[in-house]
């Protein structure tokens, strides 16, 4: 039941905002709906904690340890982003970059996007998963092109085409999957697409078909994860879309896409064994991490910078999943969580920073601690967190990943070392002068509402030094699930 509510609320919100999106209270409504979703999601979580995994709606929807915490995370970040976007988009409107019509589009699409992601997470049906991913793409395409500037249009176009093509590959993969499963599970009632059934019979599925299917699924969903060399849409979309959108893209969409990839991996591994998919994921991960790091080094635009850092981190997570085993999977899940929290927080601050400076070019942003301490320190701490500085949680996961890699595949550690080092130098050498140093512009009269930023950072910090038992239990269960 909760599941349906969780899915229904954002859909309702989309409908409402499609009607009233242009009104003054639209932003509040948006936040309100997101809050409601969050509450529903948390009640779902509580229920799962109490009664364990559940399967509803003719087995179409299900919750297991793997997706439940992602649902909670998605709902939470969705809510905080809505909170952040309320004042932010208002200022944008003052600057005349947006008008009420576009705001309506923005709000309804935002809710639709949340719906699509939650659907993708909660569905038990691989076909539905595909549909949801496509829907997520479509809704965000319009969000990315919200400003209607040449740049944003171009970014949105590239995003649409690349992800569309990718998604098409994923569909072919799904078809192959169905083709393989239908032999063992038969056609009646599309059980052959239901994850719960597939996982039960994964041992008997035809290896060759599954191998082929995995390639298409990996390329398809991997494009949305932003794995190099399929990543090219990502920096453009992050840089040109409105900041809240960049935040949810980095913080949530990538996670969901990765979730899809991992679901497929689990299935495929059941039939063709760990070696092949593991190696593929590790290769993609390392490549993305290293490439992302070197791209970071050459950035001038603050949002592009952190877009590339998302690529790098997604690479690290994928690599960890590729490593496999309880520890690495645990670390990867943890990293998914802390990355989305930290990265969205960074995008919040980056958005305010570029708003106050009037440019996204990092040379134009100087001495933020002087202008507005919350922004400055938010950016500094956020960057340090994302760079894996303890006691922030990112360090915890990187600690586990690196030690595991050193143990299992020592040859990968040099690449990781390079990636981390270069990324550190790249990001920090840009952030330091932005935060510190002299600035000619006067201090802000009132500091912007950065509560979400510090809430996120506080959570990341806590995860670094103390992890609630329940959360740890989820992670462990999910890690076991992924195997």
């Amino acid at each position: 039941m909760e599941i349906l509510i969780v899915l229904g609320l954002p859909l309702l919100g989309a409908a409402l905002l499609a009607l009233f999106g242009a009104r003054r209270f639209a932003a509040e409504l948006n936040a309100g709906m997101s809050l409601a979703t969050l509450i529903a999601a948390s009640s779902l979580v509580l229920r799962v904690i109490r009664y364990g995994p559940m399967l509803v709606g003719h087995e179409q929807f299900f919750v297991d340890p793997f997706n439940v915490f992602l649902v909670a995370l998605t709902a939470f970040v969705g809510f905080t982003t809505a909170l952040f976007s309320r004042p932010y988009m208002r200022i944008e409107e003052h600057h005349g970059r947006l008008n009420p019509r576009r705001l309506r589009l923005y709000h309804s699409m935002y809710q639709l996007f949340m719906f699509a992601m939650l659907l993708a997470l909660l569905t038990n049906n691989m076909g539905l998963l595909w549909v949801a991913m496509e829907a997520a793409t479509l809704s965000t395409v319009l969000l990315v092109s919200l400003y209607r500037t040449r740049a944003s249009l171009e970014a949105a176009w590239k995003y649409f085409i690349l992800c569309g093509v990718g998604i098409a590959q994923a569909l072919f993969g799904t078809i192959l999957l169905y083709f393989a499963a239908e032999k063992t599970l038969g056609r009646e009632g599309m059980t052959a697409l239901l994850w719960t059934h597939l996982i039960a019979v994964k041992g008997q599925l035809e290896p060759r078909v599954l191998g082929l299917a995995f390639v298409f699924l990996l390329v398809g969903y991997g494009t949305k994860v932003g794995l190099a060399p399929l990543h090219n849409w990502l920096p453009d979309a992050h840089a040109e879309g409105p900041t809240p959108v960049s935040a949810v893209l980095s913080g949530l969409l990538l996670n969901v896409a990765l979730y899809a990839v991992i679901r497929c991996k689990v299935l495929v591994e059941g039939s063709i064994g760990h070696l092949l998919p593991g190696r593929m994921l590790m290769t993609f991960g390392l490549l993305s991490a290293v490439l992302g790091a070197f791209f970071i080094w050459r950035q001038r635009d603050i949002k592009r910078l952190f877009g590339y850092s998302s690529i790098e981190h997604m690479g690290i997570i994928t690599f960890a999943f590729g490593l496999g085993g309880p520890v690495a999977n645990f670390a990867a899940l943890l990293h998914m969580t802390v990355h989305s929290l930290t990265k969205s927080a960074i995008f919040f601050t980056a958005g305010h920073a570029s708003q106050t400076a009037g440019t996204q070019q990092m040379d134009g942003i100087r001495g933020l601690v002087g202008i507005s301490p919350p922004i400055g320190w938010g950016l500094m701490l956020g960057s340090l967190a994302i760079l894996g500085m303890p006691p922030f949680g990112v360090f915890a996961s990187e600690f586990l990943i690196l030690t595991t890699a050193m143990r299992e595949h020592p040859w990968t550690t040099p690449f990781l070392l390079i990636a981390l080092g270069v990324a550190f130098a790249g990001i920090f050498s840009r952030v330091q002068p932005m935060v510190f140093g002299e600035s000619d512009s006067p201090p802000l009269p009132h500091s912007p509402a950065l509560l979400p930023v510090f809430v996120h950072l506080a959570m990341v910090l806590t995860l670094g030094v103390y992890m609630p038992a329940a959360l740890a239990e989820w992670y462990r269960a999910a890690a076991r699930l992924i195997g």
Partner: protein, 681 residues
């Protein structure tokens, strides 16, 4: 006398040290509390500096006391597990003799520094007071936690927190670009080093997925893995300790920081790296190889010589001290190397001697280097000058600082009867015994090592004469120096504390030896005897070598006194004050004194190959001649510039991947698809 005191202390310890790990943790927590307490009145320097810092100093004393008692009591290690950290890996905390020794060091030196800092920080300098206090006390606490940590995760967390807090302290004057650059360099070196240490732990956990140090102790390794772990650890800790060639950040960051912070980084933070290398190579790793010892020895001696030479040519007083830190760390590493060398060839007594030398030198360095950095702080406040070329004659303006700095100078120059000499004496002693090693060619090598050591020690004296003479003696080189003021009483108190420490260890080396004896006993199962009687130390054997700081000190003082009295009795004490004899050239000005550059000139002349020099000599006809010299570290160009250039090149090179053409992007994914298909085919 001392021995009985020792008994008495241990008796007291019995009663007190039962649960002193808990009390230690409380003290550390109290530091954090102090740090955050600053935000009660964030902008009041009086509250933060004059009240919180002294409190921190008291806590330091507490830490030192507890650690000392633990050492004296000879208790078994104490363990605590906190309900924090990763789910499967709660924070393990352990107090054993090794950590106790370094805590002692931390507490003793930290107390002095904090006291000084209380008087040092003025309002309106760099960061807001509250923030400063927070970073400062976080720094202290994290160092203590590094020393106390008993699992890899807590260790790394504390380690990086230490790096982070110190980074913020370094950049507290962040409006100056050079300081930002220094901070950046420091942080990135620290981070890369930390990743190396982390990887080393990754090897050490030996597939047992338990990152506690106990698990690592019990794990067994093939020589290859053990060496890998050791080398990674060496990279990481060497980068923190400023071992050549990972030293480049050190001469940038230490001068950039406010002086108490420089003192802490140089005096205390470097020691955590020493602690780390000891912990890993002697405690966690069950096997060692003599090649490691050779490696450490060579690196250490090279760093020592390198540091001394560069210190001799510096013109910035804090840079000079920073380089001298490199030198001292090098000496310590050499000692550790010798210890490994002896230990692997089953000469545990000599190993203990070498290790003792290293430990005692760490302690001494913590004392006198902090002392000197703090004095530079006072000089900086009094004169606003950091360049040696603009100082001089301060002994008349600031007698307190000058006299205390003299003690520091003498002890860092390794002169009897002060503490610097003690550790260098021990180190030389341990060098003397190396020829009994089984490896023949090592025996050939070691005398050269000893020679380098001797040269370094002598150079250190040269450097320090330059340091002290140019700053405090002679004529003021700038007119502004006449209104330099002496340090305030809090600063004096801190300086005095450290100076007393120097003299005390100089006079009673037994104290230091007794402190380090349990450590060597634990790590090597062998300790050097502090000496048959309390009067002098004879680590190996009475008739082989012995030294008594106390009698030497007393002797010098008494003879001086006697002579003085006699002279007074014999000769009349008439004194005629006259001008300085100008050699018949009355137009001398204070600018004509020998400058810092001039003082370094012989070294430049002799060791010219070590550095890149750019000089512009004024022509003979030049009416307003300016002589400028710019000295650079060759290693910077040899190693670091190429790396950064390479990264830059690569980054430029891969730009085309994001060429902006959609068709190309599609091509990428197409090719990826085909490639993977071929792969599964």
């Amino acid at each position: 006398m001392l021995l009985s005191a020792n008994h008495w202390i241990s008796g007291l310890a019995e009663t007190l040290a039962v649960n002193d790990l808990h009390s230690l943790l409380l003290l550390v927590a109290a530091w954090m509390v102090l740090g955050f307490a600053g935000f009660l009145r964030p902008h009041s320097i009086r509250f933060v500096a004059r009240f919180l810092f002294p409190a921190g100093a008291v806590l330091c004393l507490g830490v030192a006391l507890l650690a000392g008692l633990f050492l004296a009591s000879g208790h078994a290690p104490q363990l605590v597990v906190l309900p924090l950290g990763l789910p499967d890996l709660p924070f393990h905390i352990r107090l054993d003799v090794l950590s106790a020794f370094f805590l002692l060091l931390l507490g003793v030196a930290g107390a002095g520094i904090s006291t000084f800092a209380a008087g040092y920080f003025r309002s309106g300098e760099g960061t807001a007071p509250a923030l400063l206090g927070l970073e400062y006390h976080l720094f202290l606490a994290s160092m203590a936690m590094v020393i106390l940590a008993d699992d890899a995760y807590l260790f790394m967390v504390a380690w990086e927190t230490m790096a982070l807090s110190s980074y913020f302290l370094v950049t507290s004057h962040h409006r100056i670009p050079e300081i930002r650059r220094a901070g950046f360099l420091y942080l990135i070196m620290a981070h890369v080093g930390a990743v190396c240490i982390l990887l080393s732990f990754g090897v050490l956990q030996g597939g047992s997925w338990q990152f506690t140090f106990d698990a690592m102790r019990s794990a067994h390794f093939t020589p290859f893995w053990a060496t890998t772990a050791f080398l990674l650890a060496l990279l990481g800790f060497g980068a923190k300790a400023g071992l050549v060639p990972m030293h480049v950040w050190l001469p940038e960051a230490h001068p950039a920081a406010p002086s108490p912070v420089s003192a802490m980084m140089s005096g205390l933070m470097l020691k955590t790296a020493i602690y780390g290398i000891l912990r890993i190579s002697f405690d966690l790793l069950s096997i060692r190889f003599w090649q490691w010892g050779v490696l450490l020895l060579v690196l250490g001696l090279f760093s020592a010589l390198f540091g001394a030479i560069f210190a001799a040519v510096q013109t910035d007083m804090k840079r000079l001290l920073a380089y001298s830190s490199i030198e001292n760390v090098g000496l310590i590493f050499a000692g550790i190397g010798l210890a490994i060398l002896f230990e692997t060839s089953n000469m545990h007594l000599f190993a203990a001697l070498a290790l003792t030398a290293a430990l005692v030198h760490s302690l001494n360095h913590a004392l006198f280097k902090s002392l000197l950095f703090l004095t530079t702080g006072s000089v900086l406040h009094a004169t606003k000058q950091r360049s040696l070329g603009k100082l001089g004659g301060l002994i008349r303006r600031m007698p307190w600082v000058a006299s205390l700095a003299l003690i520091g100078t003498l002890s860092i120059a390794g002169l009897p009867p002060l503490n610097g000499f003690v550790s260098e004496w021990l180190l030389l002693q341990s060098f003397l015994f190396t020829p009994q090693l089984p490896h023949a060619f090592l025996n050939m090598l070691i005398p050269l090592g000893a020679a380098v050591l001797a040269l370094t020690v002598a150079l250190a004296a040269y450097v320090m004469v330059k340091f002290y003479g140019v700053i405090f003696l002679g004529q003021p080189r700038e007119a502004s120096l006449v209104n330099a003021h002496d340090a305030n009483w809090l600063e004096r108190l801190g300086l005095i504390w450290l100076a007393v420490g120097c003299v005390l260890i100089g006079a009673f080396p037994q104290l230091a030896l007794m402190a380090s004896a349990p450590v060597t006993g634990k790590l090597l199962g062998e300790t050097v005897r502090p000496g048959s009687t309390v009067w002098w130390i004879a680590p190996i054997a009475q008739e082989q070598a012995s030294y008594s700081g106390l009698i030497l000190l007393a002797g010098i003082l008494s003879v001086v006194a006697i002579t003085f009295v006699c002279v007074r009795l014999l000769a009349h004490g008439r004194i005629r004050r006259t001008d300085t004899w100008d050699c018949g050239y009355p137009w001398q000005t204070s600018r004509m004194q020998d400058t810092a550059e001039g003082f370094g000139q012989p070294i430049r002349h002799m060791f010219g190959t070590f550095f890149r020099m750019e000089r512009d000599m004024p022509s003979a006809s030049d009416t307003a001649p300016r002589y400028r010299i710019y000295i650079e570290d060759r290693l910077w160009r040899a190693i670091y510039l190429p790396i950064s250039r390479g990264v830059q090149k690569l980054a430029d090179g891969i730009g085309f991947l994001q060429g902006g053409r959609l068709s190309i992007y599609l091509l990428y994914s197409f090719l990826t698809l085909l490639g993977l298909l071929v792969f599964v085919l």
